[in-house]
């Protein structure tokens, strides 16, 4: 197994509050890592730290991705290196056309890879085929980014972006929240289709349900800013029965 990301003694704070208190975590190429933990454990802060959100300040430790430290990199550089986060609450940007945005993002990535930019027609073809696959409404192409989308549509739109941008390291921050069972199935199926021997997934969730559809290779339990336990799917069963307290305190 090849380590794709190595998180070493990571301490981070938001404002004055220390949230990550020494995270050590290895993630592997082609594997699915589920991150679970109670509210306030630091799950979302961990994903924010990986993608370089400006609210988060790293005070100690490091994140090594593909052999390089990324903690001083700009968010867009990390994105171009293949890190993609599906947002828990995708923002609405009025007036910014969905398709235009996504083409800009894709062409930024293609430029980074030394590829020719896609023209509007080529891109539209790609976009339409993906939209069809996902069973989304085609009219979303003409709408503003996430504006007026339902909760489910927003999440599906995140998946659509993932499919178009083809990232290497995918963080799904509570992709299952606010989804009904049909939408959850659809999203899970799309994620499973994206799984291959190279692509790594980090799934942050509160619930077992999604892990029934997307089987994780590793489960990590986070509590109070530290990784409390690492193991396989059996951890989820234990959690289900006993709750987080069985792992004690960090």
């Amino acid at each position: 197994m090849k380590k794709v990301m190595q998180i070493i003694n990571l301490h981070a704070k938001i404002g004055e509050k220390e949230i990550l208190k020494g995270i050590d975590l290895d993630m592997f190429e082609g594997k699915v890592h589920a991150i679970m933990g109670p509210n306030g454990a630091g799950k979302s802060t961990l994903s924010k730290t990986i993608v370089g959100h400006p609210d988060v300040e790293v005070t100690e430790g490091d994140i090594i991705y593909k052999g390089k430290s990324i903690i001083d990199m700009e968010p867009e550089e990390r994105a171009l290196e293949g890190i993609f986060m599906s947002f828990q609450h995708p923002v609405e940007i009025p007036g910014v056309n969905n398709a235009y945005f996504l083409r800009t993002a894709l062409n930024a990535k293609r430029k980074h890879l030394g590829l020719k930019p896609l023209n509007a027609a080529e891109f539209l073809k790609l976009l339409k085929s993906k939209i069809k696959e996902l069973g989304m409404k085609e009219e979303m192409i003409h709408r503003s980014l996430n504006e007026g989308f339902s909760g489910g549509e927003k999440k599906l739109n995140e998946i659509l972006q993932m499919e178009i941008l083809e990232p290497d390291f995918v963080i799904l921050d509570e992709i299952d929240s606010g989804l009904d069972i049909d939408a959850l199935k659809k999203v899970s199926e799309a994620i499973n289709n994206m799984r291959d021997s190279k692509r790594t997934f980090m799934i942050i969730t509160h619930y077992r349900k999604i892990l029934d559809y997307i089987e994780p290779d590793f489960v990590h339990v986070l509590k109070n800013g530290k990784v409390l336990k690492t193991g396989g799917i059996e951890i989820v069963d234990a959690l289900e029965k006993e709750g987080y307290k069985i792992f004690g305190d960090a």
């Binding site: 986060m85 910014v96 945005f101 993002a105 990535k109």
Partner: protein
């Protein structure tokens, strides 16, 4: 956001700041009756026009410069300005236009040779005090459309000019309008006959070139019953350390069932970050929806000038008439803009819509000032205004001053306004998708302005979007 970066995005250069190297004839600075007689004589005007000018001048002498706008600037010395400048060479035939001028307009993106022109756009090019060239005149004449300089109209169509000039903006309407009425040099005249839909975009490009000179143009557009016209104006000036005065008047008249679309891309020299140089832009623009079902739409993209004082307005006199105002105003550097509109509802079931987007960056101060006035007679009138402001950086200001007056119980007036900065979350979202911060800011700003930019005719929307990017480049910060 990373403010240093954003700063870089807005600090772009003014690319139109070159000077056209031609010989010009300028009047000595100063404003007396003789100056006005000089201007009138230069233009071979009939006596009645000179009399009107002198009347305006006498009224102006008794008037005071308005002080209510939220702009500050040192006092203007009206005797230090030259009120006339014109290229020595040149008349209306293309062969006689100084090649330097042709070159300059081409550099500005406005080719004056008809074969090179943008498809479907007829241009009147005004340089300092005179119109140097009007294109596609014959073609338009075939439809009965008059598209010429105002000087020609005064000579060739005196009845129309006498009937309509000063009918919407009276010569003593305000200090700057009175000044313009006394000294206006050139500008554009448009008449669209009954039932004619003008097949081309009509356009005037104003250029200030001479030093120490003010530009005082006057535009008059009449759309007769059932006609339609889309008119656009653009402008630029050399980068100079001194301030130059631009005081224009625009009058629009829309008769029954007529529709006038008036778009402006204002890109006068904005001065520098310390507030040195730049155009003082004091403009009175007003349209009269005279007839039933008439409609006037103002669209403006204001990126230039160090001071802007401008309120394109609609008097909705005809029943069911409609007034619209779409505006994007950007103030950066040390620019100050006090701009907005007036919608005066007089006729029954009149409607007005105001969409204003203000963007402030660096030391820019941006004020929306708008009046919606519903007369008692305007039964069933409706107004909706939306005025949003975006702040980029912590040294700028965004201000909103609506005046909403209603005297009619069956009317509805609604106003909404929000001021915010570029949202960190939006910016981060775009950056997480691999889009650079500069592009992300530009994308958000374009999105913010979209409702207005979409209202511009296609040929000009492209220009406006490019201008917006150029203006933003280096300002975010």
């Amino acid at each position: 956001m990373g403010m240093e970066k954003v700063d870089k995005i807005i600090n772009s250069d003014y690319e139109l700041g070159f000077e056209i190297d031609i010989e010009e004839e300028t009047a000595p600075p100063g404003l007396t009756e003789d100056t006005i007689k000089f201007i009138s004589a230069k233009k071979n005007e009939p006596d009645w026009m000179l009399e009107l000018r002198l009347k305006a001048f006498h009224a102006w002498q008794k008037m005071e410069e308005p002080k209510w706008a939220k702009v500050t600037y040192p006092p203007i010395d009206y005797q230090a300005i030259s009120y006339w400048a014109a290229p020595k060479k040149g008349s209306k035939s293309l062969d006689e236009v100084d090649p330097e001028i042709l070159k300059a307009y081409e550099k500005l993106g406005i080719p004056l040779e008809e074969q090179k022109a943008l498809a479907g756009v007829a241009v009147d090019a005004v340089l300092d005090s005179v119109s140097v060239k009007t294109t596609f005149v014959e073609e338009l004449n075939k439809l009965g459309i008059i598209f010429c300089s105002i000087s020609e109209a005064i000579r060739d169509y005196p009845d129309l000019v006498k009937k309509y000039m000063f009918s919407v903006v009276p010569m003593t309407d305000n200090f700057f309008a009175a000044l313009n009425s006394a000294v206006f040099s050139d500008g554009t005249f448009v008449y669209i006959p009954k039932g004619v839909k003008c097949p081309m975009e009509l356009s005037t490009y104003f250029r200030i070139n001479a030093q120490n000179t003010g530009q005082f143009e006057r535009t008059l557009i009449i759309a007769d019953e059932g006609s339609y016209v889309s008119y656009n104006e653009g402008c630029s000036a050399p980068s100079r350390d001194e301030n130059q005065l631009h005081a224009a008047v625009v009058e629009l008249i829309a008769h029954k069932d007529a529709h006038i679309n008036y778009s402006t891309i204002q890109n006068w020299y904005p001065g520098d970050i310390e507030g040195n140089g730049g155009i003082y832009n004091f403009v009175t623009k007003r349209g009269l929806c005279e007839g039933e079902n008439s409609k006037i739409t103002w669209t403006q993209v204001e990126t230039g000038s160090v001071i802007t004082w401008k309120y394109p307005s609609c008097i909705l006199k005809g029943d069911n008439s409609v007034g619209e105002f779409y505006s994007v105003a950007i103030t950066r550097l040390a620019q100050q803009a006090d701009t907005g509109t007036k919608m005066i509802h007089i006729g029954k079931n009149t409607k007005s819509l105001i969409i204003s987007k203000g963007i402030s960056a660096q030391k820019g101060q941006n004020s929306y000032r708008g009046l919606v006035k519903i007369h008692e007679s305007a039964k069933g009138a409706k107004n909706f205004s939306e005025c949003d402001s975006l702040l980029i950086g912590d040294n700028c200001g965004a201000h909103t001053f609506p005046y909403l007056e209603s005297k009619c119980a069956s009317a509805q007036v609604e106003h909404e306004a929000t001021t915010s900065k570029i949202s960190e979350e939006q910016l981060f979202y775009l950056r997480q998708r691999g889009i650079s911060e500069e592009d992300a800011v530009s994308m958000i700003v374009h999105g913010f302005c979209k409702d207005v930019l979409n209202k511009l005719p296609m040929e000009f929307a492209v220009e406006a979007k490019a201008l917006l990017d150029l203006t933003l480049e280096g300002s975010v910060g």
